[in-house]
Symmetry: C2
Subunit: 146 residues, 2 copies
DNA sequence: CTATCTGCAAACTTTTTGCATTGTA
DNA sequence: TACAATGCAAAAAGTTTGCAGATAG
């Protein structure tokens, strides 16, 4: 009997004395249907369904969910532009190359990321919550043009 | 006959029609004597030697140097903090774990980083300028306390 | 002499906070 | 009916830009 992400999240919110509001339910539904999303984008699409929802509420909800370990966050661009939030299980070993000239983003999967996580865990006694890995440089096209 | 970092940098600046100003010479000297430094720190120490130097000049100089491939930049913490600049050769395979509770930064070296760089290069025909890897979670102390 | 650099002040982007009000449990 | 959560407006933090004046080559 699997709990949905939304149910798990609500459980986690209640567990710490938090309350389930309409805004939070809406945000949970939207997070569940997007692989990885930033606060501003989340606010934009939430706003279409509930025009009263504010950006501070989006940020506060994301922090609440992250503190409860219901979502994780990371940057995917070397410029650390917007922080992206996601359900932990999703695309854990995918990182991104961002072209510094045209801005193109190329996703990249590597098993070495899992190995690095294990290496960290083996060497320092930390609890790893997030690992962000961002590559930057010139993409094939821009490399050719210059 | 090895050129110093400063001489190389000046050469690179001149090569693109740039000019060698007192501010730029001072910044180059300071960058050369620090492993990895952020704009605000660089401005602070530069300001002690030349109180007229401004933060925009520091940023503009860092961008000029980065465009000329004389320095590289990266973030070392997964939180939206400061960008760090450095001479490319320095501590290339060191990344950092930042504790989300106490802020402690634990540097961490792994040969897997070089392997990942090679894996990227082998798979996509990119020119890799920077790779940032930021780990976050609980440090040994904070993990114990909660 | 002229294009590049500079400092200053102000703008910008993303994220956070104070506060009075609303709404959940 | 308490205490958590909300919206608004304003602040914060890091970085960038416009502009008029200074300066390298």
């Amino acid at each position: 009997m699997l709990m949905t992400f939304q149910e798990q999240a609500k459980e986690a919110i209640r567990a710490t004395g938090g309350r389930i509001t309409g805004q939070r339910e809406l945000l949970l539904d939207l997070i569940a249907t997007h692989d990885e999303i930033d606060a501003e984008h989340l606010h934009r699409i939430a706003h279409q369904q509930d025009p009263t929802i504010s950006l501070p509420t989006v940020y506060r909800t994301l922090h609440t969910l992250e503190d409860a370990h219901v979502i994780t966050s990371r940057y995917i661009s070397a410029e650390h532009e917007r922080k992206l939030y996601r359900v932990p299980a999703k695309q854990d070993s995918t990182f991104h190359f961002t072209c510094r000239r045209c801005g193109q983003v190329i996703p990249f999967h590597s098993d070495l990321i899992e190995q690095i996580k294990q290496e960290i865990a083996a060497r320092i006694d930390i609890e790893l919550w997030t690992l962000c890995m961002c590559a930057g440089g010139l993409c094939p096209n821009c490399r050719e043009e210059r």
